[in-house]
């Protein structure tokens, strides 16, 4: 059973291979694909995650903000900050795609 499929600008035959790796194409063939996340993108995505995972750091009442204990405003603050970091990665991806 084989079928023709349009892949990466050319027609290729897709054939399930019963013996070895289905396709010789490996991740290393696309290291600079514009939509791949680079290590710095991953770092940017990790920052808001780490900020809300460090419970012993923010599990405290002081300093308060408008009467709201630190525990609560610290986590609330990271919601919009999470958007900022995601936005940075989004812009980086878009710039790379425009440049490629």
């Amino acid at each position: 059973m084989s079928e023709m499929a349009y892949r990466n600008g050319s027609f290729v035959t897709m054939e399930p291979d019963l013996h070895g790796p289905a396709h010789t194409m490996t991740e290393s063939r696309h290291p600079h694909h514009p939509k791949r996340l680079r290590w710095f993108d991953i770092l940017l995505l990790a920052i808001p995650c780490v900020a809300v995972l460090i419970v012993p750091f923010y599990n405290r009442v002081e300093p308060k903000l408008w009467g709201i204990p630190f525990f609560y405003w610290w986590q609330l603050m990271w919601v919009p900050l999470c958007s900022v970091f995601l936005g940075l990665v989004y812009l980086r991806l878009r710039r790379r795609r425009a440049g490629s």
Binding site: R36, G67, C82, L86
Partner: protein, 513 residues
Amino acid sequence: MHFWTIAVFLVCFVLVGWIGLRAARWQSGDLRELHEWGLGGRRFGRWVTWFLIGGDLYTAYTFIAVPALVFGAGALGFFALPYTVLVYPLVFAILPRLWSVAHRHGYVTAADFVAGRYDSPLLALAVAATGFIATMPYIALQLVGIQVVIAALGLPTGPGWVGEIPLFVAFAVLAAFTYVSGLRAPAMIAIVKDALVYITILALILVLPIKLGGFAAIFAQVPRDHLLLPAVHGGQLGLQSFYVTLALGSAMALMFYPHATTAVLSARGTDTLRWNWVFLPAYSLVLGLIALLGFMAQAADLSRMPDLAPYFQTFGPQFAMPGLLLHFFPQWFAGLGLAAVAIGALVPASIMSIAAANLFTRNLYKAYLRPQCSPHDETQMAKWMSLVVKLGALLFILFLPLQFAIQLQLMGGILILQTLPAIAGGLYTRWFDPRALLMGWLAGMGWGIWALSLTSFQKSVYALSLGSWTIPGYVGIYALLLNLLVAVLATLVLRLVGLAHRRDITQTADYLG
């Protein structure tokens, strides 16, 4: 009975039913095709996707349960916040790969992807069944949200047939528009729902602190042991490790709940999705504010108010949010807010039933029962199935104790996490052998259910002992670690004896987009 509350509520509800039925004609496509009925033709743009995913993930049950949890348990209930912060970086990195490969190969469910990636219908069936089972109680809980609202309106909520009529009506509206319009209906209704939710929450969060004397006064009323998580002492990590693992586990599970997959796959492209993840945290902010409502209900001492006490007796802390609406706002506004919650139940319930129907049709009916069925038969089956799934949820609510649905929903997240190695793992590598993944899945499911049974399915916490340390954590995360361990070891063994296979109909380039 509150006349104006009910009147405003009914107007909103009728409007939404009408929009849902009309939605079939919007961006019209051939609704006899599964990807048209069940994925809206994969054509939803930035704004529709934003409303759809927001309406999908932040359910009515969330609006009821999160303030209820904070009202009852304090700081621990705030885990919903790190949970919804964690989920966006995760989906931003991972889910565009799922969209790309699904788009190239016409996959409608995550189990479709697993079938293609591993050439293993059995593993796909396991993934599909897990998703289906986890979704059912979730739909039931949406109906519970509607039930709480009906009670708040002053309408009867049973027992007896007369008392169930309002719930039946809500159910009929939901079933009709989902059947007729497919995913287009919740997508359009989500816009109305979100407008109502934002208005309600803004009003609550602006008015209540003023009426209650400011945040300082509100937090002063919170019992000390509810204000923070208990401190770590000795080797006992207490609730802190549970808080972290619960947030992380819930975020990872949310990604691969079938209704999340359905909403993600219906987007027009990966750029639409990424743009959405940037702006979706706006909903998390709302969620955080909703969580604070729990403390406000406590500060106002709502549960002791004579007019609200009977409700609290029936629904417990779940009545915190509706109680605030009824007590502090004029009748018509309470109607608007309650409509927001009820419609907030219809949107996810509709998407969940579509997602469950897609799973059943694609990965059981077509894969095993009738492989030769035509695309039109397939879609018809999915439409019927969406009705069956919702009817099941309704019967669930009518005939089984409410506690049962809540416990099953608790288990649902743990089950979904066990499909993570197959789905998320598969998006990055074909290293795992499908049989090894199946073994890991079994181990994770088995251990997870056993660990839950230790607390009679009341709590999702398991206290892991490592030397002199006790680390209470979310059962789902521990089960996932066991699952991964088994999958890795079994893959290594299968490879060593030369039995592992790497059949795969996807290519590396399929995942980038």
